[in-house]
């Protein structure tokens, strides 16, 4: 938890720094292909988030290797979520649309942090409401926790009324077609930002 927040502080600082250097670097230079290459945070080479082993809504076990050749947009959320999760999925629909013909090479994956309520039936219905090609994955309580930890994703059950809600990290991870974790995108970023970055990653074979 403490580590998570420190990491986030670092990420924020790096993001600010990279934006500033990007701006400064832009002064008087017209041909700099490396400056501001991505709208998201480039995390290529980090030692976390390199795989998962979870079950999809059709009961099949899935790992990252299943999606070689595609860019993967990975998001952790829960179905009984009125705001941030459907907003993220609606954006993913738009991203796929913005990618045009390349959109078929984007696999959107939703990992539930609420396996207690999000069974395979509701996950399948929920994904289909956005795009039937979107995949939802789940694990038991322990596998969910292990997976979230491995991706530095925070989630916590919060009682409200007679029910509960989930606090959870709302960023998205992007993997390139070779299965390498490349970017973390923030919830505040636009579909255009996401599409811009994913289009670049899809240029690699």
């Amino acid at each position: 938890m403490a580590f998570f927040h420190k990491t986030n502080a670092l990420v924020r600082w790096l993001l600010t720094f990279s934006v500033l250097t990007g701006l400064l670097g832009g002064c008087g230079r017209t041909d700099d292909s490396t400056a501001a290459a991505f709208k998201g945070m480039d995390i290529t080479g980090v030692n976390y988030g390199n795989d998962f082993r979870l079950t999809d809504f059709d009961g099949r076990e899935r790992t990252l290797a299943d999606f070689r050749g595609q860019a993967v947009l990975l998001y952790f959320g829960f179905v009984q979520c009125p705001d941030v999760c459907p907003t993220a999925l609606a954006r993913a629909v738009e991203v796929k649309h913005l990618l045009g013909a390349q959109g078929d090479r984007l696999q959107v994956i939703f990992v539930t942090v609420d396996p207690e309520r999000d069974n395979s039936a509701v996950l399948k219905e929920y994904m289909a409401a956005f795009d039937p090609t979107f995949l939802a994955l789940s694990g038991d309580a322990q596998r969910t926790r292990e997976t979230a930890d491995h991706f530095k994703v925070y989630y916590k059950k919060i009682p409200t009324g007679s029910s509960y809600t989930m606090d959870h990290s709302a960023m998205s991870y992007v993997f390139d077609p070779l299965g390498h974790l490349r970017l973390v995108m923030r919830h505040e970023q636009t579909a255009q930002d996401y599409a811009h970055d994913i289009a670049q990653l899809l240029k690699t074979p």
Binding site: N8, V79, P82, D83, E125, S162, D167, H168
Partner: protein, 157 residues
């Protein structure tokens, strides 16, 4: 004549009561059949200081006023005791901010359905409460992040 005057007075009083809060762009996010929670969004404005303190709906067992905040990329959603309306300002309940949280849904909310909502407001000066109804159209899940084009009621009493 006497009756007409009385009727007009009643009508005027009724209109005044109804016009205390203007509710615009109300919409509810649709659900899939097994989903038990969703959110309602709208824009509220008033000519006097008021406070939205509660909401209810026949489609939901529990209705709460919620705030969504992003703190260091973590989404947190919390019930809040109320929301203040300030004259001249539009209080927006919208994705990324406030919403009316609908829980223990009794039915699936499909695109094109409408959801009746009763909002309870409090006048901080008189400590009195009154309610206002709004009928919010449902935007099908996955069909957008706002009131569906052409389907929204601009104003509801």
């Amino acid at each position: 004549m006497k009756h007409l005057t009385l009727a007009l007075c009643l009508l005027a009083a009724n209109t005044l009561a109804q016009a205390q809060v203007t509710i615009q762009e109300a919409w509810v996010r649709g659900t899939v059949p097994s989903q038990k929670a969703s959110g309602a969004f709208m824009q509220l404005s008033s000519t006097k200081n008021l406070r939205l303190v509660a909401a209810s709906s026949p489609v939901a067992g529990v209705v709460e006023i919620h705030e969504m905040v992003m703190a260091q990329d973590v989404m947190k959603m919390r019930q809040i005791p109320g929301l203040d309306l300030v004259p001249g300002q539009v209080l927006a309940l919208k994705p990324g901010g406030y919403h009316v949280m609908l829980m223990d849904l009794k039915t699936q909310l499909k695109g094109g359905d409408t959801v009746p909502l009763t909002l309870t407001f409090e006048d901080p000066q008189t400590q009195t409460r009154f309610t206002q109804q709004v009928t919010a159209p449902v935007t099908a899940l996955g069909a957008g992040n706002g009131p569906q084009a052409g389907g929204g009621m601009k104003h509801a009493q």
